[in-house]
């Protein structure tokens, strides 16, 4: 018997999730341009207007979208047309499907049911992310190969070597956190991050796994192929794997990158920044560690928790955009050395130390 309520809730959650993710990604295209302008002492995109209304260029994404849709969509001759079309779809699918296990807030109790804010509440959440996130390599490889161009093929080889190398670091940096939480379920992970050390230090992942968090970010940015790891893409100089794409297909690659920024920020928030948890906030209000309380109504607490989650995600997104416009690009040998000689051994060290500490504390 199918539980129709659960099914309907899932459908609604999917629609909401896609609307939120796409909405943020659209705004991000503008934020990225504006932030680059700020950091390079320019004004940035501010010309797009509707009937003279400009609102600091926020209509720019619409202008971009119209341009992209109306551009000529050129498929190079002698390319493999089917795979050429399939590659951006795979890339897009891989970054969007992993949002299925990201909890967008605390579980809510509506009409006697506990509704999880996760689309798919499965007990292998993190493994699901690693499995489907790894499929993004296919997008790169197929895009580079099917274009029938040696430069795109070389870029695809560079890109897949980079993504496979940093996937190892990414997995290793998360295993420490998995060992501490003892679960792969994302909602459960956030719930495990409540509680305090010495009564006042929140037990967030970043405090229990500082090295893991430090290793996760570069590995994740390298997976997303953004500066300083944008060797497979670097549109203007050494040619990227999606050079032979134009119009909306090229836009899909670009858009997938922005969606992945949101995803990395959300994953970091859930695993290392305590998800929706606010320090000292309980279901009935703030309990200060120095004594005293501040009572808040229940609905207000829940709203605060949702806002906290989105605030943390926004902070991480902004951090990644800052990194994008601050650092220069790595050379290929530097990239490989960083991945295999520094990040990987540090990841193994983190794993060993975490294991020893857990045995001493007696959690295993």
């Amino acid at each position: 018997m199918i539980d129709w309520v659960i099914l309907a809730a899932s459908a609604v959650k999917m629609l909401i999730m896609i609307a939120i993710v796409m909405g943020i990604a659209i705004i991000l295209t503008w934020v990225e341009r504006k932030q680059s302008a700020v950091m390079q002492d320019r004004i940035g995109a501010n010309r797009a207007d509707i009937l003279g209304l400009r609102i600091i260029g926020l209509f720019q994404p619409f202008a971009d979208a119209i341009k992209m849709i109306t551009k000529e969509d050129f498929i190079p001759p002698f390319s493999n047309k089917f795979l050429h079309t399939l590659a951006p779809v795979i890339t897009f699918f891989a970054v969007l499907v992993v949002f299925a296990v990201i909890p967008l807030g605390p579980p809510l109790e509506i009409a006697g049911r506990t509704i999880s804010m996760q689309i798919a509440d499965i007990n292998i959440g993190l493994l699901f992310i690693l499995a489907f996130g790894g499929l993004a390599v296919y997008g790169v490889v197929l895009a580079g190969w099917s274009s029938n161009n040696k430069y795109t093929l070389l870029a695809a080889v560079r890109g897949s070597a980079q993504m496979i190398s940093y996937e190892v670091c990414l997995g290793l940096s998360l295993i420490g956190a998995i060992m501490i939480y003892g679960t792969l379920d994302m909602t459960d992970m956030v719930l495990q991050q409540s509680g305090y050390w010495f009564g006042w230090i929140p037990r967030w992942g970043i405090i229990m796994q500082p090295l893991g968090a430090l290793l996760f970010l570069p590995a994740a940015i390298a997976e997303n192929k953004r500066v300083p790891f944008d060797l497979p893409e670097c549109e203007s100089e050494i040619l990227g794997y999606h050079m032979e794409y134009s119009g909306l297909r090229a836009g899909m690659f670009m858009f997938a990158e922005f969606i992945e920024i949101i995803f990395i920020a959300a994953l970091f928030t859930v695993i290392f920044l305590g998800g929706w948890q606010i320090p000292y906030l309980y279901w009935d209000g703030f309990h200060w560690p120095w004594g005293g309380m501040w009572y808040l109504p229940f609905w207000f607490v829940k709203t605060l928790e949702f806002l906290a989650l989105f605030g943390k995600i926004a902070f991480m997104i902004y951090f990644m955009i800052l990194v994008r416009w601050t650092l220069p690009r790595f050379r290929y040998d530097q990239l490989m050395r960083l991945g295999w000689k520094y990040l990987l051994p540090l990841g193994v060290l983190n794993l060993a130390v975490t294991g020893v500490v857990l045995v001493i504390i007696g959690r295993i």
Partner: protein, 176 residues
């Protein structure tokens, strides 16, 4: 509902497996094999073995097939390269090998017997697989990892061979 899903998945798995061995270009074969692995992962999920399904995608569809694709693309950039046509001898040997594998699988399944018993839903979860792997099958697990380590060391030793004397005399540089 579940039956319909099973029939669709099984059909796609069978058709794509058939395509793997009938396609002329190796890359098409590899991509159909990836599709087959995905269908297998779906079947694992329907059996309640979520961990196995995730591993199927991470290890086979993700890591190993990407390497296959990688090598094939470097070998045949235009996609024009096709499988070389095997002679009659190799063709019959292939049929014989496939028949042998089928026979072994059939006898193995015969000894188990097809039963209607419902699988334990906990059998494929992370914790049950983990405790089986690290308690009951700890020794085989560790032996397998030592074997893999040996393979890695062997590859490195082969790649880092000493240059031939003639090459060093001519001053040919050898990369790492």
């Amino acid at each position: 509902m579940e039956l319909i899903l099973f029939i669709i998945t099984a059909l796609v798995a069978l058709v794509s497996a058939f395509m793997v061995i009938t396609r002329r270009t190796p890359i098409a074969s590899v991509l159909y094999l990836v599709l087959t692995f995905f269908c297998l992962a779906v079947l694992y999920v329907m059996l309640g073995a979520q961990f196995i399904a995730a591993m199927q995608i991470v290890v086979y569809a993700g890591a190993i097939m990407v390497l296959f694709l990688f090598v094939l693309m470097l070998l045949s950039q235009r996609g024009a390269q096709t499988w070389e046509v095997a002679g009659p001898m190799r063709k019959w040997l292939g049929f014989a090998a496939a028949g042998g594998v089928l026979l072994v699988a059939a006898t193995a399944l015969q000894s188990v017997g097809v039963s209607d018993t419902v699988l334990d839903p906990e059998i494929g979860t992370v914790s049950s697989v983990g405790s089986a792997l690290f308690r009951r099958f700890l020794l085989p697990f560790e032996v397998a990892s030592v074997l893999l380590l040996g393979a890695i060391i062997g590859v490195v030793a082969m790649v880092k061979r000493k240059p031939y004397p003639s090459e060093t005399e001519e001053g040919v540089e050898h990369g790492s």
